[in-house]
């Protein structure tokens, strides 16, 4: 049985504003566009929610519902800072952190850095720490899967901690209004209500086939979650910094062509490794150790990413030709790939005007340790 915690900051932007501006405390405030300009509310304080104001609502409507609503322009640096602190706290407990947005994350604490078997205690501790370090409150939900953890964190918001143990899961789900199911949006909610599905219990009475028929692939998901089945893993997207591979020769080599062949072999293995891990790299470094143990290296950055064998290999050879001192013999060659990103991530690069520079290569600083 897994132990998942879902942490959700309470009215995050608005809470930061109230923390930093005492005059806003206890008042209905909204962060976002001003009512005159067709803006929308990004977040609002709980005081404002009492009047029915909620996020994504048009500012002009919000001000009608709550005439004394104070509009605040966001201080995004402060939000970013608070978010970073919270994230650091999470990482004290586990590396398995999946951020959903700036104020919300899942943690898998089945195995954790504190060796504490009680996810409930950990959740309480995390909430306390967040409060101590940011003066902000968070709500936490604890359960055995992401879906239920998320439901739990929402049950006693704000500043709540709710645990849904497996034996209570079905009960809670049964009573849950269908609109509260995470993953069921407004349109689906309407459709379900037309079919007479108003809460979890109603949904559970449906067989799989009709659900698939009505809702396509999502039907399977609805069928599972209402039975408390959610196998989705907490996926972290933290990525290692670099991958490298080197080869030491039993006899020193002083022939450029031979060295290039070794680079090809290394490139092939590296490309395979990158493929297995699902990475591509933005920087490539070639390293040489001469027979007197002097180490030299040179790096370049990519116009497009290094992922395929032939790109790695040809760029590495190109670099080698540029800086290998042909008078000297070599004990070791290696290739390092750094600035790794996931393969499916779209990479973008700041463009520069040609008159300013058009150099493909970057120089490496002494502090870059790739090998």
């Amino acid at each position: 049985m897994r132990k998942i915690i879902h942490i959700d900051m309470d009215a995050f932007f608005a809470a930061v504003e109230q923390r930093d501006h005492p005059e806003y405390r206890g008042k209905a405030i909204a962060v976002g566009g001003l009512p005159g300009s067709r803006g929308v509310v990004a977040t609002c304080s709980y005081e404002a929610r009492k009047y029915g104001v909620h996020s994504a609502m048009a500012s002009s409507l919000a001000v009608k519902l709550c005439p004394h609503l104070i509009f605040v322009r966001g201080n995004y640096e402060a939000y970013r800072e608070a978010s970073a602190i919270i994230r650091r706290i999470f990482l004290e407990y586990t590396d398995l952190v999946e951020p959903v947005s700036i104020d919300e994350a899942y943690l898998d604490v089945t195995v954790n850095k504190k060796n504490n078997p009680s996810a409930t205690r950990l959740a309480a501790e995390i909430r306390q720490k967040i409060k101590a370090e940011t003066q902000l409150t968070a709500s936490a939900g604890v359960s055995y899967c992401k879906f239920l953890a998320k439901i739990a964190s929402d049950l006693e918001k704000p500043d709540g901690l709710v645990v849904i143990p497996p034996q209570k899961a079905l009960d809670i789900l049964s009573k849950l209004p269908i609109g509260k199911f995470h993953g069921i949006g407004k349109a689906t909610e309407e459709k379900m209500k037309q079919l007479g599905i108003n809460n979890g219990a109603d949904l559970r009475s449906w067989e799989l086939q009709p659900l698939l028929k009505r809702f396509g692939k999502a039907g399977q998901y609805y069928y599972n979650i209402v039975r408390g089945i959610d196998e989705r893993q907490v996926v972290t997207s933290r990525i290692r910094k670099s991958i490298s591979m080197e080869r030491t020769f039993s006899d020193d080599i002083d022939d450029l062509e031979t060295l290039k062949e070794y680079l090809s072999t290394i490139a092939e293995k590296l490309a395979q490794k990158m493929n297995e891990k699902g990475f591509k790299a933005l920087t490539l470094t070639v390293k040489l150790k001469y027979s007197n143990f002097e180490i030299v290296q040179r790096s370049c950055s990519a116009k497009r990413a290094f992922d395929e064998n032939n790109i790695i290999s040809s760029q590495a050879k190109c670099l080698l030709e540029e800086f290998y001192d042909r008078q000297r013999s070599v004990r070791l060659v290696g290739i390092g790939l750094s600035s790794l990103v996931w393969k499916d991530v779209k990479i973008s690069k700041q463009m520069t005007m040609p008159f300013y520079e058009d150099s493909q290569y970057i120089k490496i600083s002494n502090n870059d340790k790739i090998f």
Partner: protein
């Protein structure tokens, strides 16, 4: 050297100059003020320099005996601040500066005045007057775009062109260009170009307040001198010719987007929360009936915002920018709305004020992020 002056007549000048004094510098002489007492004019001339910029204050005082001395800036400032509000007497003898008032007395060891970097004599007769407010606007509209790469020193300054017919400041770091033109004849007789380091200009921007109407400028081959109030500011210039950036400015950007500035700033502010620190990328999708700004961050999730109030005339376009650069430009747009002239995804975007009726104009260029 011997002179006396009321504390309140001296302290503000010392505080102003203190901004220039470098701290923890490897050239200790720079931590001093050069104080010169001019008997004939009955004035004090106090100089502070960090080698890049030099600021000189001229202050009326009661000079009994002329002379000059270099004295620790920090010590002098601390002593003056703590002195009672009285007339203070200064006497320099045998390497010591004696500072006395009715109730207090200090001896300050001094450095040799001729160890201080040479301060040239300035004749402001040929200087040209500029409207101070306009001058500040020129600086703040361009200085954000200078390069910080010291390997390309030319781009670390603002290029100032003075033409008989107009004047212009421009800055670029290869990723953006900011250009401010004042379309009024100037008092120069022939065109002058000089590249001024931002440090001096930013200092001016800070100290020229609404209290001054004009700034006088004198351009010499090696330095540019600004005079305001009782101060002179000299800045070295960056040697070299400013490259022609005009060839990087696209001529055929025909897709025109006009959008409310505040609205756009807010939206960018929110979406950018999820931008990663390597590129600060946000992504814009614009068509005739939809304008969406979004940002996908694998580690933290995604943000998306729909802009409702805009007009767009052009081909559908997807383009990505470093949001910090984009905001830096939008921040110096003065009109309520901002105009984008766009070409293709991998081409420079131009930004302008909308319907601005002034005797000056600005244009900005921003290179996008290439989608690999």
């Amino acid at each position: 050297m011997k002179f006396s002056i009321e504390k309140k007549d001296l302290l503000p000048f010392i505080q102003h100059l203190n901004n220039i004094i470098p701290s923890k510098n490897t050239m200790p002489i720079l931590t001093n003020y050069l104080i010169k007492a001019d008997e004939n004019e009955n004035q004090l001339i106090i100089t502070a320099t960090d080698l890049e910029i030099t600021v000189i204050a001229t202050i009326k005082a009661n000079i009994m005996l002329g002379g000059k001395v270099a004295v620790s800036a920090r010590k002098l400032m601390e002593i003056l601040t703590r002195m009672p509000d009285e007339v203070i007497n200064f006497i320099y003898q045998e390497d010591e500066l004696l500072i006395t008032s009715i109730s207090a007395k200090f001896d300050l060891l001094c450095a040799e005045a001729n160890q201080f970097p040479m301060v040239p004599d300035v004749d402001l007769a040929d200087s040209v007057a500029f409207n101070a407010g306009l001058f500040r606007k020129m600086i703040s509209s361009t200085s954000f775009a200078v390069s910080t790469e010291i390997n390309r020193p030319i781009f670390t300054g603002i290029n100032w062109t003075l033409d008989p017919e107009f004047q212009m400041m421009a800055a670029t770091d290869g990723k953006k260009i900011a250009e401010f033109t004042h379309h009024k004849p100037t008092h120069v007789t022939e065109r002058i170009d000089c590249i001024i380091p931002t440090k001096g200009l930013n200092f001016l921007d800070k100290v020229i307040t609404e209290n001054f109407d004009t700034v006088n400028v004198l351009i010499e081959p090696n330095r540019v001198i600004f005079s305001y109030d009782s101060y002179l500011l000299m800045t070295h210039v960056i040697e070299g010719r400013y490259p022609d950036y005009n060839k990087a400015i696209p001529k055929n950007n025909n897709s025109i987007l006009i959008v409310d500035k505040e609205h756009l700033k807010q939206a960018i502010g929110r979406v950018s929360l999820l931008a990663t620190e390597d590129t600060y990328k946000i992504h814009l999708s614009i068509s005739n009936n939809s304008f969406i700004i979004d940002c996908v961050n694998r580690e933290e999730g995604e943000a998306r915002e729909k802009i409702t109030e805009f007009t767009y005339d052009g081909k559908d376009i997807e383009i990505a920018f470093n949001y910090k650069f984009l905001l830096a430009i939008i921040n110096v747009i003065e009109t309520p709305r901002v105009e984008f002239k766009l070409g293709a995804s991998n081409e420079a975007a131009l930004l302008f004020n909308v319907d601005q009726e002034e005797d000056y104009s600005t244009r900005f260029l921003l290179m996008p992020l290439r989608l690999l």
